[in-house]
Symmetry: D2
């Protein structure tokens, strides 16, 4: 297996290597009747595109998406939606170096161990470029969620030591700076920090936070397929993510039950509310109707221009400097990938969630 | 769906409610020829059993496991292994209170929203007792891993504010204290902290850490089914877990690439090593041959005897005190559940991992 | 894997061997709110029970089903329904013979090849007794279908050379004879034929036909998961089945398109109809609203008392007479198994079918 | 869902409509190290190409396959293999007729019922052109099987009333006539029969038989995922198939057990053999090492130029003549589709079959 298929009802299968003919995705199980266009998907892809600021690799990717199937007269037909981004530029770079050694922090060694050899050009299938397919599928999922009144917003919460406190979060600000930080002052400080890292030929990591509004209560499958469990897998499957939190996450480990329990109440109008949302909108693996909140810890870019020690295939210890210009940080480009994985997961669970109750099934098939 | 089936090759389906006739699991896909006995499984179940220390609910559960199928003359036959623990004591408790309101921090409200009603006796299917099936399956998975030279050890790393530093971890100590803490001094402090919480009729959370030794390099499926992604789901699916970390987890967000990259080297004997293991034994979603490390943040027990505010089904705001004696902390009992979910996941991935290379497949079918 | 889990939304996992502690099934994904009782399930199980006529093995099976989970106050809760039939009688028969050789027509040899050894007691997991779990799950599926106005009826269409012509089918008659034949005259002739076979210590096969009424148009997933493809797998997975037909089946191979196409029309009341139903209610893998019709070819019982040639584990050619009294035919007992597999499959597909159209999903989540 | 993903370990996801931008497939889970080229796949695609004889539609399809990912330096890398055939010719035909009515025998009506509307151009996703993706994936599966010494051969066994008796089967002959009949004399008669049908503006059906040699004993998963059950689904999922048989199929219904049981023996050299192969190489759902034999009943082409009755969307009863020239028979072009589905299924099961025994797993991971 190569684990490139995700979802039970809304199935996403991605394909493609960094420097192959192209990269793409097949979405099988999208309901019929959704308005979709290449433009709509392009908006999402452009958010993860490289070369948009000095904090991203200047590599040029055309990234123009084509819809190859599954859409007729502007609407999804219910059959598989195939989308592809073909590589405009397939010059044969010189990868002879990279082919012979194992870059620290990369999957070069593990791919070789698993498969016996690897497509070493630009990281092959383990390149961040793999996320293009996720984002194209995510754009469709997000469009579907919008029809149901559900909105997903992710943003950069911290870069290196620069972290935004909860009370200073301003989601709108995330669209106004190239780092997607949800606070413009913090964004400025983060830029300064990144400049420093770049001077040192080094890289930085950070934290992405994601908030989902409008998910009805009752979504999620108990025991193994809890909604938070699915989200954890979805997020941890993104290349550089090393930690996932739901709601208050690791903070809860040092709390009393009386502080951590979100107490229910009815307001004057008879609407159910919670006095707090430490749980992040999920109870027992099922959405409770309040905002779903999660966070991902993203490691610093593994590709750095600084000198590093490693080994080569001749079993020698060597010193390397990875050629080329690298993303000093991938957090801002990963923000839309987080949104996409959350969107895909939620659509999958909303579709699954239709089958929980006999009364609703009878109503449906009446 | 109710999401009670886990795994692709090694499929685990659990069933049962807290106060029903019993609780159990069917393991489908266990290879033939593994030595299994009820005693072996009982050892695991006893580790999660209540009533073993004053830091756990005194509720009496017999928890005597029976193997109902799939084992013949002491060995697995390759067919489904059905195991059950029948409830000895099915007195009709009085749940009339619990039936009418929604306990904060519990899944009462979300189950009602999802299914229209719920088995309210002792939490029904959302009770921690559900993990019995996981642990019985985990015992089998661990036995299989042992045959392949793989050992999983989990322990309590922190309880409330009492946290063990990495350099003070002593895994052997975890078996010598009822809190499973990997340091006896810390265990003592944690006991004091728990006494305090119990006096306040409150509860505590903590962090569980798990280390796996002996996993060969090359296990894990790229893209969506990365080994760390699967582990994240496995761990987050455990009732009270709100965060998961692989390797250094959230710490990496504030690190430079040069500090975070684990550099490879060959030692004098020609064995590959890494100068550090920040990545927790997984690169690009595939095991790299070093120890796999992960952590889970466990929330404080939601059931507390203190007064809390909530709502009832008549849409009234009410004040409750949940009757009965509760676990002041569930972390120690969850340690074996973490081990079990990791074991089940690893077996699943080791089985999947056999199909990655044509040369090995040809050798297999020669 | 041992392939004992079936279904995508309505997941059925069976377990148990012929002569083990019991046999059972876990149904995960049954919608909440369905009225279920042990009595309701027992009715189905009794239809496949041995010892009910002289044309079935006189072996005594108590076959009293117990519901162990997933039902509360008489209704399904949406969580896994575990059911078991415990073996009353576990005397240690003498299987020393059967253990040493491979019965022709049985899975003794192939199980040994696959797993390295086998539970040889009464066929172990490959025994027809395995279908008990299918039927218990089928009873639940049928109850759910009934709520949606869908009725499944299977019956014996032929036994050996005695075949009922389409125009002589009388479904009601199937309940009035021990062979479940849909025509009493044919049933009588079939009994005579079976008497003859029994005298010769031989066995007979036959054909089971199944008609489903009330399936709405639009159920089935194009391409690989066509409804007829799923039904074919469901039916072919029943032990002795060697052929499956949908609608007119093999007859269509020798027909002209003009004869075979079912032409649509609107009747006076504006209802859509078809002038014929050669297609058996399925077009392009999707139900068309007319009756679904399928047939299964069942081989003669492999266990016969006559002398046969085979081999033993010492690699010798030997002559055997399989001890005990055997079902001279399994067709009548398999009728309810066919109904069960069709019911399970249809429920699975009806649940999946809820997610095809955005307009209906929006209506659902409004 | 749209059911366009097939397989558990060797996952095939097809996409594309008859008259869209192209048609394609993603194969996820192909082991690394297999030699693959576009030429190798093209050989398979050319076998299903239209316009190759007067018994097939003269429609011109370029059908030049491109490999877009997953192959590096001529070998599979273990990552998803994306393949596409782009439509050269996308003129806007006039489908205004077809859009308004429901063709008998086609999925027009059922797609509309399921999805609310359909891509009516040339049948859209329900067109036989959908099988292009299956065949491209099948070519890869067959190449893999060849490495393991397994060969699949399908051929036409009957067309209309012209059927080849078992003793007259000559597999080599199938490559020497445009109808793929396994007997040249029968091929000639079938051509005459087809001429007659074409004169009547009518169509014909037939039977395809498939023989697989070299499958080792022990492949197949008991109970629901029996190898024959999987093959039945694979074959029945092909558009026009209405019946599937394994081994002697429906013939066994009218046989005695003593005639039908395949008796085992050891030959002089100590090799296990069977005196007959009525079972078609599968016992209890598991391969027994002898040839696997199956048959598919293919209905006559639904598209015929003759006058037919049907209904339109305005709910009127109308008379139609479907414009264009149609395949008078699709059997010969479906032969390679049958081979492909069998190949894909067998690869899937061979990969699954590696995990059945602990001793072999220990050997593998040693």
């Amino acid at each position: 297996m190569s684990g490139s298929t995700y979802g039970q009802m809304f199935k996403v299968s991605t394909w493609g290597e960094s420097h192959g003919k192209g990269i793409g995705v097949v979405v099988d199980g999208c309901p019929a009747g959704l308005d979709i266009s290449e433009d709509l998907i392009q908006v999402y892809l452009d958010r993860r595109k490289p070369g948009q600021s000095k904090y991203a690799t200047p590599r040029k990717e055309g990234d123009k998406v084509q819809i190859l199937s599954g859409v007729f007269e502007g609407k999804t037909t219910g059959t598989p939606i195939s989308m592809a981004v073909f590589n405009e530029d397939q010059r044969s770079h010189d990868y002879s170096d990279i082919a012979t050694y194992y870059r620290p922090g990369h999957a070069d060694y593990t791919f070789d161990q698993k498969y016996g050899f690897r497509d070493y050009r630009g990281g092959g299938r383990s390149s961040g470029r793999e996320t293009t397919g996720r984002v194209a599928a995510g754009a469709i999922a997000a469009a579907l969620l919008k029809e149901l009144g559900i909105v997903i917003q992710a943003y950069t919460k911290s870069i290196g030591p620069i972290s935004i406190q909860d009370e200073d979060i301003n989601i709108a600000a995330a669209k106004e700076n190239p780092l997607c930080m949800a606070n413009l002052e913090a964004a400025k400080k983060a830029e300064e920090y990144l400049e420093l890292q770049m001077e040192k030929k080094d890289s930085a990591g950070g934290v992405i936070e994601c908030i989902v509004k409008g998910v009805p209560a009752g979504i999620g499958e108990p025991v193994f397929d809890k909604l938070d469990a699915a989200l954890a897998k979805a997020i941890m499957s993104i290349g550089a993510v090393k930690g996932v939190e739901i709601g208050d996450g690791f903070l809860v480990a040092n709390r009393s039950g009386s502080d951590n329990n979100d107490q229910f109440f009815y307001d004057d109008k008879g609407n159910l509310g919670k006095k707090s949302n430490h749980g992040g909108g999920i109870l027992g693996g099922i959405s409770d109707g309040s905002s779903i909140i999660l966070r991902a810890a993203v490691k610093p870019t593994s590709s750095i221009a600084r000198k590093q020690y490693t080994v080569n295939k001749e079993k020698e210890n060597i010193e390397i400097e990875i050629p080329g210009r690298h993303d000093p940080i991938i957090v801002p480009r990963a923000v839309v990938v987080v949104e996409s994985m959350v969107a895909i997961t939620l659509v999958d669970y909303l579709l699954m969630g239709m089958t929980s109750r006999l009364d609703k099934i009878k109503e449906f098939y009446k």
